[in-house]
Each structure stands twice: as C-alpha cells, then as structure tokens.
Amino acid sequence: MRLDRGFWTATAVLTVLALIVIFWWVYAPITAIMPEAVDKAAQIDALYRFLAASGSALFVYVVGYIVYFCVAFRRRSSHAADAIGVQIHDSHKLEFWWTLFPFLFVVGLAIISVRIFYGIEPINMPSNSLVVEGLGHQWYYTFRYPGINGEVKQLHLPLNQQVTLHVSSYDVIHSFWVPDMRLKVDMVPGLVNTLTFTPTRTGRYNIVCTEFCGTLHGDMRSGTPNDKAYLFIDTPAQYKSWYDSQQKANANASNEIAVASSSSINLTGGDVAAGKAMFQTKCSACHAVAPFEQKIVGPGLKGVLHDPSHPNLVDGEKATPEDVAKILQNGFSGPLGVMPNQTANGISDKDIANLVAYLNSLK
C-alpha cells in the first residue's frame, strides 16, 4: 500500500487544523464565560481543557480523513463498472499502532484523571473546615449552619475558608450543582454525601438541581421567583454580618439541640453492656454503629464522642456526653429525620446513662 501525495497534503492540512483547535482549547476563555468560584474548579477546568483539546484534535483528524477519503476515492466516471478498490485485508503494523496509541492516550488520561480525582474528592475529611448542611426538598434548597437555629434559604460562604458541605434530602433524590464551582453531588435521602472546597472568588452564583425530582424540577434553581437559593461567596466581614443577622432572625426558631438548658440526668455509673443491649433494641433501627456517613435514618454513631471527623453538633461544639444525654432526653427534630424524645422512646434516665456510656465507649 502506497500513500499518495494527496494523503500527505490532507494530513498536513488536518495537522494545522488540529493544532488550531488545540491552541483554542488551551487558551479558551472558559473563565470569562463561567468564573471559577472555588479552588477545585481550576483543576476540573484543566482536565476539561486537556480533554477538549485532545478530543477535538482527534475528531478533526477522523472526520477530516473521512471527508478526504470520500472525496478522493469516490467512484468516478472513468471507473469501469466492475472496478474494485485496493484489496488489502489488514496491516498488523498499522493495527498495532492504532491500538497502542489509544492505549497510551487512555493511560495518560487515567493518570491525569486519578491525580485530579484525589485532589477534589472528599476522601479525607478536613477537620478545621466550616461544616454546612445542604438539604433538598421538592422543590427548593435549605441550609443549616452551626449556631443558627433552623434552616436558612440562602447559602453564604466566607472567602478562603474551607467548607465541608454535607448534603441529603427530605424526599426524593435531588442534586446540588453550582456550575461555577464545577462541582456537583446528589442529595440522596437516607445518605449523607459530602463536598469539600474552598471558595476563592466573591460573588453570587447559581445553584441548580440536576437530578430529576418531580413536577417543578426545572424550577429548582437560582433565579426562579419563589425565593430560590443562591450561593453567595462573601468576604469574611460580609459573611460575619450575614451570619449574625441570621442568628438573630432565627433566634426563636426551634433549635433542635439547644432546647434543654441542661440535662437533669446523672451520667455517672453508666453501664456499657446494658447500654449496648439498649442500643440494639431501641436505637439500631435508625443508627448504625458505623461512621457518620453511614446513615440509616439517623447518622452512624461510631465515634460520635471521639472521632474528630465526626461533624460538630448544630451549635458548633463537639459533642459531649451531656449533649448526647440532652438529645436522648429531649429528642431531636432535625432536617434528616425526627428522633423521638425520652418519653416517646420509652427509656428511663438510667437507660440514658447506660447509652451514653456505651456511645462513649465507641472509639
């Protein structure tokens, strides 16, 4: 098989075109259209530039050659009626190269993707970040902040402060997507998913639901009339003033944990074994002895009093045995479910002491 001059001319033209699209994608003004609001967006954009550049270069070559072959090898009037093409069945050399080339490309892409993957996935929970809960409803979002009673309608985040966003849902699967963050996570009922990121650019950004959630799914986004949520990235001072105003405005909203001023229960002498038995009969329907993320109805409770990666309570403090006793005593009407109080659960003060001792023993 000999390749004629036309082939090489076509190759040269396509190479020029491919280089043009590669340059276009490397320097494309992505951030002019869509700003990068958080630290991780730049990494994802870098991957996108790589994918788009290599993908469109490949597309230019494939389609370019197809067009060239279709023109160059079309049946002409000079062809005899029984003219046949070049009778080649295969070429091991060629096949070897065009198997190896995609393989190498895929290996390269996999390496790049894995590196970026480890950069953005919340594999290790950061300990000093602002923990916010995002909650999906049909068809709006609410957010819960440490120290603010109840749920707020807007998501405000301070600049340059690392954020851990735990999301879940009240009803069906929603999703939390801020296009300018390039990050998205599904809000699955019964499951807590997590995003971690650091806001790097102030402004107001759209939040969009991408997981089909029913009648008004299309309305579940920023910019719709009914007071739908935006993401505001504020300067620390702005954030502080917003936070204070929310705290004040919601002061009278029911705060699930801070209701009881103090627990009247004597926690000394709690029996771990009895607490374990009580846990299995009364608690294990809703709580697993597992990390926080493993929700059944309520969160997993392993290490609730010890594990630093376990989220803070709503008031922003680490849980203490007294806090846990308070929750057991007064119940909890939280975003992800309702926990019955002592009377409804049918447990005595002594049981609470035992349970706290048991939970304290889970390290």
Partner: protein, 557 residues
C-alpha cells in the same frame, strides 16, 4: 441433482412445510424473515410515536417558561420518549428486526434455532408496547426512563404498568438473545467458521449474550421496583432500611450493556456496507470482531460510571473510571479500521453508504464525549446536564439510528424485491444529518453552561440556543418522515431490484429477493470470508438458487 446436499437428514435440511393462509403466513408466522419485518414495522410505529413525543419536548422548550404543556405532562412525555426509543424502537429494530431478517441467511441457515420461540418473542413486543402506552390511561410514569426511586415510588399508578411492560419486553429480548446465540453457535453452514462469518453476524453474536444476561438483570430490578410499589417491600425506601442507590446499581448493570446492545449490531451493519459500496475488503476483520467482544465484556464492568455523583465510595469510582476509559481502545480500533476500509476504495455514495459515513462521523463525536464523561472530575460537572443528553443522542440518534437507517436502505431490496427511491433517500439523509447536528450539537455547551436535563422550564439565558435546536429538530423529523414515505411508496411502486442490486457478497444476496420461505434450495458451503472482491464468491452449492429448479421438499410431519 446437480449439487449433492452437504447435510443429510440433519436439522439444516429439515424444512417445515410452508404455512398457508394469511394468519399463519403473516401474523403468527414462524419464518424469521417475516418476523424480522414484523419487528421493523412495529418498531417503526413506535418510532413515530416517540418522534411525536420528541417534537412535543422541543415545542415545550421553545420558550424558557415553557407553556406548551404543564410540567407534569412534560415529565411523562420525556419519560415515554426515552422508554419508547430504548426498548420499543432501537433494541427491537437492531436485534429482532435486522437480526432476524438477515442473520440466519448470512450464516446459511434455513431459520433460527427455535422458530416458535422467535414468534412468541416477537408477539411479546407489541403487547408490552401497548401495555406501556396504556399507562397513559392510569397516569403515565414520569420519572425519566431511568425511573430512579424514591421519585418513581411517588409516581402515578402507570409507573407499575411501566415496570410490567418493560419486564415483558425484556423477556422477549432474552428469548431473542438465547435464540440467536444458539443459532449462531449451531446452525452455521458447513465451512462458515467464526473467522468467515460476516461482521453483521459477529455483531449479533456479541449482542446476544448481552441481551440474555443484562436484560434478565433489568428484570430483577423492575420486579423489585414493582413489588416495592405494589406491596411495600422496601428495597429502595431509605426510611425502611432500603437504599435508593441499590436501584441505580441494578438498573445500570443492565442499562450500560444496553447501550452496547444498541450499537454493536449497527457496527456490524456498517461493516457490511463499507466493503460493499467501496468494493474493498473490510480492513482488519479480526480486530473488528475481537474488539466487539472486548466491548461486550468491558460493558459489564463499567455500569457505575453513571453514578459518580450519587454518593458511591470514592475508592469504588476509580476502577469504574479506568475500565470505562479502556472501552475507548476497542472502539478506536473499530473507527480506524473503518476509515482504512474507506481508503483506496471505489466509493459509491448510495443512501446506505451516506448514512454509514454519517454514522462514522457522528458516532466518533459521541464516543469522544463518552471518554470525557468517563473522567470522574469532568463528570462531576457534566453529569445530569444537557451535555449528557447531547452525548447519548450522538451515540443513539447519530449512531444506532443512523446505522438502522443505513441498514434499511441497504436491505430493503432484499425484503421486498424493490428499491427505495435513492433521490428521496439522499434528501432524507441530508435533512436528518443537518437536523441532528443542529439539534444536539448546541446541547454540549448548553450543558456545560449550566442547563440541567429533564426540565420543563429553564434559565432564560439559554433560550436562543434552545430555539435553534427546536427548529433543527423539525428538519431532523422531516428527514425521518421522508424515509417513512419512501418506504410506503417504494413498497408498491419501487423499481424492481433483482436479487443483488448492490453486487454484495454475503449469502443473503445470492438468493432471490424477496427471500423464499426455505431460504436456500441447497445449503451452501463456505470457504472464505465474503470480503474478497478480487476473488469469485466463496460459496459452493448456490448454482440452483436463482433458477427455476423445484424448491426443496418439506419434511413430512
């Protein structure tokens, strides 16, 4: 007798008496060719319905605030559009339709292994289609063709009907898969070794186990959803200990292989069409066949790439990401092989060839964006947006459906003995090609800019592009309708085609058009691949097929 029968008394020579009477001949037929045409007609009708639904979607999206229909109607419309296109159009068309019509003849058999099973499998299909559409009477399903719980648990009663209908159509698919697999394994003509099979047969051979295994897994998922909805068994209900993610695992374990069910037969088709209209052997026969196998095997190991944002453990996402990327290798090999097949040919641009070349270009684009989506970090941005919509429409409307249209223009003479009108065909191609790109290309950037899928109303900043798409979707529909008109007119008035209008070399073209009931008077023997244009045909025993010699005697019973 001039040619000695190669088999003596075996199943290949066992000819059932030709059925008489309209019902036995054309309705409850056990003849694979009739069944294939029945599949195509039924799938064609459902395609018109699904197309009408698609135009309703585009009409709604003309304006950012919608207004053509209520959001709830819109939700049922896109759900039914997706369900219809996947289960009632593309899969039956490519496997039951073209597979039945051509595959048994291409391997030199008189019928499939289990003709009765074939008939039952076909009749399940329109019945389940009617069941699916009857769900409109009781409140149609409205959670997308993926029907994720808990959304689908909230759905109208029709959602349970949806489960039952899709389960049933899956039973039919499973039967077809078993039937084809046994047929290809056991019924090949003498000398038709695996390395001599036409590549369309390879496509069906690789698809059959996918149909058989993946569809059954879907059946389990659907049964679970059904009993959850009707009896409250909490498979997917998180408040009772179930898991919404379980559905996604079970569903995608089917639905990812399903996309290969939808594309592998089309790969086979264009592997037949390129050599025929290029007068040139397919380049890299073995690599094309083996890469199909590789795609099918890898296809079972990548389902969770549909769930990168759904809260699966990050450690689990990595293997799925890498395995998904690996599929690019066999797919790339195929695309390069087809390009090399075009090189140095004498290319005749009939409509079938145009559709095949269009397939190659558009499928390449869909494949490239597929690699994009395999990369988890990018998928975190693009998942659930119009980018996904663009990607899979390039693969399915640009790949599978274009392949099916190529196959229709290619094999129509074999079905009817008449040609389709080539001028109309070329018009239909260009309308379809331009309309398809105009409709789906802008969806790529719309998705990246922030437009989620499955929405009845959207951000007004996207309105201009959506209007452009809606207009182009009419062009695309015009192309499809032109093909339908072409088929209806040419069936009666088309030019007579003769037995082999394309001068093609696979076995089905060596017998009269339309194909006689018994396919072959004598079972031929095969001694090479059908792709050597410089050589005489690689078959023995076909001398009498086109003559007036008497047909074979049916077995007495």
């Amino acid at each position: 007798m001039a040619v000695a029968a190669v088999h003596s008394g075996g199943i290949a020579d066992h000819i059932h008496p030709e059925p008489q009477g309209f019902i036995r001949k054309y309705v409850f037929s056990i003849d694979h060719k009739i069944i294939g045409i029945q599949y195509m007609i039924t799938a064609g009708i459902f395609m018109l319905l699904a197309g009408a639904l698609a135009e309703m979607i585009r009409a709604q999206l003309m304006r950012a605030n919608g207004g053509f229909m209520t959001p709830d109607t819109f939700n049922t419309v896109f759900t039914m559009h997706g369900s219809t296109m996947v289960w009632l159009v593309i899969i039956p068309l490519l496997t039951g339709g073209f597979g039945n019509l051509v595959m048994p003849v291409q391997i030199g058999a008189r019928d499939v292994a289990f003709p009765w099973l074939n008939m039952i499998a076909f009749w399940i299909f329109p019945v389940s289609g009617l069941m699916l559409y009857s769900s409109f009477l009781m409140g149609a399903p409205a959670a997308g063709w993926t029907e994720y719980p808990p959304m689908s648990l909230q759905g109208a009663p029709g959602t349970s009907m949806w489960c039952a209908a899709i389960f049933l159509v899956g039973v039919g698919s499973t039967m077809t898969g078993m039937n084809f697999l046994v047929t290809i394994l056991k019924m090949r003509a003498p000398g038709m070794t695996f390395t001599r099979m036409p590549l369309f047969v390879w496509g069906q051979f690789v698809t059959a186990p996918l149909l058989m295994i993946a569809t059954t897994a879907l059946g389990a998922a659907l049964a679970a959803l059904f009993v959850q909805r009707e009896f409250g068994v909490p498979f997917f209900d998180p408040t009772k200990g179930g898991s919404p993610l379980l559905w996604q695992h079970m569903f995608w374990f089917y639905s990812h292989p399903a996309v290969y069910i939808m594309i592998l037969p089309a790969f086979g088709m264009i592997s037949e069409i390129f050599p025929t209209f290029g007068r040139k052997p397919i380049f890299g026969y073995k690599m094309i066949a083996f890469s199909s196998c590789a795609i099918a095997i890898l296809g079972f190991m990548v389902w969770a790439h549909h769930m990168f944002t759904s809260g699966m453990a990050p450690q689990l996402q990595l293997p799925f990401m890498v395995l998904t990327m690996l599929i690019a290798i066999p797919t790339g090999v195929k695309i390069f092989s087809w390009m090399a097949t075009l090189w140095g040919g004498v290319l005749t641009f009939s409509t079938a060839m145009l559709y095949s070349v269009g397939f190659l270009a558009l499928f390449t684009l869909g494949g490239i964006t597929g690699v994009f989506l395999a990369a988890v970090p990018f998928d975190l941005h693009a998942h659930g947006t119009y980018f996904i919509v663009a990607h899979f429409h390039y693969v399915i409307a640009g790949g599978s459906l274009m392949g099916a249209l190529a196959g229709l223009y290619f094999w129509f003479p074999k079905m009817t003995g008449r040609m389709l009108n080539e001028t109309w065909g070329k018009w239909s191609f260009w309308l379809y090609f331009i309309g398809m790109n105009g409709t789906f290309l802008p969806m790529h950037w719309l998705g990246l800019w922030g437009m989620p899928r499955r929405i009845a109303v959207y951000d007004p900043q996207f309105q201009t592009w959506n209007q452009i798409e809606s207009v182009f979707s009419l062009v695309m529909t015009a192309g499809i309708i032109l093909t339908f008109v072409n088929v209806l007119v040419s069936m009666k008035r088309g030019k007579k085609s003769g037995h082999n209008p394309w001068d093609a070399r696979t076995l089905e073209w060596q017998i009269p058009s339309p194909m006689p009931y018994y396919n072959f008077k004598h079972i031929p023997s095969v001694f090479a691949t059908p792709y050597d244009f410089a050589e005489p045909l690689p078959y023995r025993g076909l001398e009498e097929e086109l003559t007036d010699s008497p047909p074979p005697v049916p077995a007495a019973h």
